[in-house]
Assembly symmetry: C2
Homo-oligomer: 170 residues x 2
């Protein structure tokens, strides 16, 4: 079985070394702390909640925008070298598990990435090199979640099957 | 709906502030680097793969012991302040997603924690305060995964249901 990360590399077109180049430096320090992350997530979700594409906007219909913004920037701050704001409030990120209720399709990943690219493009407080690193991380992560979403839904079709003990990530 | 972390706090008996007290300091630096983590995971999985309880041992039957050891210590090093060894090799930890194939029941969580407590008890290279922090993290995480496992299997029973768009973590 192809692993989650192999699928993510293949579908995203982002190599492993690029996907986690955010770890080459401490981006939280490079960007000067919390504010750029708050601004990025605010810009991103303003676009998402105003999306003219109703199918995409509806994915977020049961979530409050201010919660979505906070969840995202706290995760990004934690993941990119800052304090563990997310885990202190909510525990493990558990990206696949927490995205399970949402239909994370290839199409949804591309729409998400479109809005994130637009949001990043508008940020003068993030330097071009950091933008590239962040976008590669986002592109990898979006397709990692497409792969994860397929996995966590693979038993949903009829007939119902019992879970196996096969590792998720061979 | 009760959130994943609320269930974890309730079932584990570990308060939020204790569950992530591993973040109060840099445990990787406190413990002096990689070796204590390698030793802990080796001791842990030696116990697991030799467990007299066949039902528990069999959960790991499809995984190679050396892979299990490496996956664990690379995750722990990364999570506890060291270099991102796990993500460089495998991508996001995605704890719930990657544990989905395994039957992470309350009983399995307790057995896992029993072995981890024994493995930690035998480590002279880890100071008592760090052991308490690590064990609280493990206890919280074990029950977080029990909650996550229930969530990712909730559609497996008959009749088959389609996924909703309700957030996983209200």
């Amino acid at each position: 079985m192809q692993s989650l990360q192999q699928k993510a590399y293949e579908w995203s077109g982002v190599a492993a070394s690029d996907a986690f180049a955010i770890d080459d430096t401490n981006l939280f320090e490079t960007l000067g702390g919390l504010q750029p992350f708050v601004d990025l997530s605010t810009n991103f979700y303003n676009r998402v909640y105003d999306d003219e594409e109703e199918w995409f906007r509806s994915i977020f219909a049961n979530s409050k925008k201010e919660d979505a913004i906070r969840n995202q920037y706290e995760f990004l701050v934690q993941r990119m070298g800052g304090p563990p704001l997310y885990s202190q409030r909510k525990g493990h990120p558990a990206l696949i598990g927490r995205h399970r209720p949402f239909p994370v399709t290839h199409q949804a990943a591309e729409r998400w990435l479109h809005h994130m690219q637009q949001a990043l493009d508008g940020m003068s407080s993030i330097d071009p090199d950091s933008k590239i690193k962040m976008m590669n991380f986002f592109r990898h992560t979006a397709y990692f979640l497409v792969a994860g979403n397929q996995m966590t839904r693979q038993d949903l079709g009829a007939p119902c099957k019992h879970a196996t003990s096969k590792p998720a990530d061979e």
